[in-house]
Symmetry: C2
Subunit: 472 residues, 2 copies
Amino acid sequence: MKYNMVTEEILNKLIEIVGSKNVLTDKEKIETYSHDETPKEQYACMPEVVVIPKTAEEIAEIVKIANKELIPITPRGAGSGLSGGAIPVFGGIVISLEKMNKILEIDYSNMMMVLEPGVITNDINEVIAEKGLFYAGYPMSVETCFIGGNVAENSGGGRAVKYGVTNRYIMGLEVVTPEGDIVQLGGKLVKDVTGYDLKQLIIGSEGTLGIVTKVIIKLIPLPTAKVDLLVLFKDVKSAIKMVPKIMTEEKIIPTSVEFMDKLSVQASCQFLNEHLPYQKSGAMLLIEIDGNREDLVNDDSETIGELCLANGAIEVYVADNCTTQERIWSVRRNIAEAFMVVSPHQSLEDIVVPISAIPDLMPELDRISKKYNIQIPCYGHAGDGNLHATLVKNPESTMEEWYDIEIKALKELYQATKKLGGTLSGEHGIGYKRKDFIGIVSSPVEIDLMRRIKKAFDPNNIMNPGKIFDVK
Amino acid sequence: MKYNMVTEEILNKLIEIVGSKNVLTDKEKIETYSHDETPKEQYACMPEVVVIPKTAEEIAEIVKIANKELIPITPRGAGSGLSGGAIPVFGGIVISLEKMNKILEIDYSNMMMVLEPGVITNDINEVIAEKGLFYAGYPMSVETCFIGGNVAENSGGGRAVKYGVTNRYIMGLEVVTPEGDIVQLGGKLVKDVTGYDLKQLIIGSEGTLGIVTKVIIKLIPLPTAKVDLLVLFKDVKSAIKMVPKIMTEEKIIPTSVEFMDKLSVQASCQFLNEHLPYQKSGAMLLIEIDGNREDLVNDDSETIGELCLANGAIEVYVADNCTTQERIWSVRRNIAEAFMVVSPHQSLEDIVVPISAIPDLMPELDRISKKYNIQIPCYGHAGDGNLHATLVKNPESTMEEWYDIEIKALKELYQATKKLGGTLSGEHGIGYKRKDFIGIVSSPVEIDLMRRIKKAFDPNNIMNPGKIFDVK
């Protein structure tokens, strides 16, 4: 597919639509729109122009021009993505949603909110907490990411065990299609089976099927009590065996069940100068229980603690106040940062396997780690089978060696994941970074159906091209 | 679109694939496959042949023949649908899933089950209850409907307030595409953002994008305690105002919040000879709370009861044992049946509006009822805004008059629903029955996108044609 360049004439049309101060072409200013949270040196691509619209109508006009003139468009939220989804790999126009950041409505009687796509996810909860309400679908990057980006990636996060992921809470969307039409999907409706579920199709389509310009989210009652348990096990297998037991034997669905292997805990503790007794333990679970009654949450956490001890846990630490909770979550949150000390060059992955297959994944990580002489700490959302197995460059290898190793090791990691019934990505998406690997887990028929959908929505392939799969 | 007839030669090929006893052409035998639970006299269409395969491979072979020979295929589950989705409106081949009814696997460590599409939904729970597990996505017709049909319709039901609808529990699907390929979507994975969510697109697509041949469902812990409250209000408005209050003020998410207007309760009570004090009340809520701790469920039900009384409820009846629970649910369940005494000719609808708009819907029902001189009892899932407003034929009008009135009244009902931010169907689907009305709620752009998806999956339009929308 050959695209055209953004001409002076097109630039003038863009300025006419959004005003000159919302059209950026200055190299220094647009550099920040050339990458997301994937390594810049590997993936960054410069756009020709960045446009910052304020309405769906403006976006529709821009898209119509791009579709007619065959200019690629890359929609962009906060740029906090981890798969290169917001990188303008063919140049063209970046449409930044940063100024569409208004909370349009808080509808208490329907327990819903209407948002522009540029609202920061955490801001939602700050606004509604005092009313005892809660938006439960949010990722670890909650303090920077946009709700529109959450929709594009169908974001997950650490609380999905109990609360599910983004798509559970998206009731309605307004979308500008790749041909520049504005379409309303769903609404303030918790049930809707009127025709195909286009809303669900847009969610997680990584900006390749349209640009989300409005989001209706469902709120739930805000949980007010919380306890965290840090549970030490001698090995991964005994840790993972606990996960379904908590739910089946004790009938408790925890908010989070996070997993950290020894390597992860060790690095993070050293980094934080934290004295958790990690030496004794081969794996840890961080289990959070929340609810609206303190007594019940305490009961549940006691029950889980006892169950863990009866099933081979070495020790159970209870964190029932903010300080200790923050201490143990800090260890979990700082793992990636801690490995930056080892090497700033990493490939942060988010593979998913059936929960029961996690123990079988560990020897595979070990094998790949040894074969390529790299560290692969593994941590993440055990309750979802969603693991951040992270490839960390050996400081002794050159960058050239690392790029070569990275591709080979990723391929083996994905193949091992596939063999265990798993898939490439549970949260971060395929984007630009994993596009060439999708064939490892998705069949040719499945990819062909995706391509056909893309073609049906975007015949000229102008909407976020170069992501997820190659268009033939 | 012009289809071809099933020739002797094709019939022989079908017999070769599934064996002669699984190919039905006898008029008497295939009559039962000509309709679902929509009125037979209005919607039934005879197939040319009914094929009863046992494997996905057999289905793939049949579909390949049909796709090559341009013969329409209609997939069929239990035939319990309420939108004519399983009716072979262009004749051709009905593929009945009735013999693909095996539970293939119960995977306790992942809390999942692998099912063939013909498994009766209720059988799932009968098998897993003793292990303390529960499949939560199921509709009112749970005792007859198939899990494959639940997937095709994205079935809802009375427990969706707490548990959501079918799509929350479907983790993986095997599907035979309209071109006869077998594709695996998802897996035993609770998070998956690898490319477009084709699984979610298939769910609710009413058998128009492929035939589901395997279903992986997620299980949750079985709730063991349950209390039902029957709450009487003087009018609809005060009843509906309670719904978000329970969730926001008391932070309780009930399992069900069912609504019954006076007309519905009256008819059902008279039908059952039940002595609920309906005379005093303009509307009732039936609120169910479940959980795993009896004390907590009791506390919650007391809290809700008190909140209702403090907000204008006339009376609260507590049903905390099976006998009284069955008594009040029986009133709810028998409303449709009760109106059969008035007239067997009804149009059972399942419109959805924002919860807060339910009171505004009532005068519209009243207006339409008076204008066309028909009864419109209204009951259903208030907690989801999903209401079974049912048009009941006036016994005094002729069938010809009724058919005319039905179309006009339905149109006005859907227009009123649309005006309130609602849509045509929350559970039953569009199918054959509501196909000509979809344009009232869905925009031309949205319907065009659906048509493009249909064309992308099924270029020859052989898979369940004549449903949801007309293919151009």
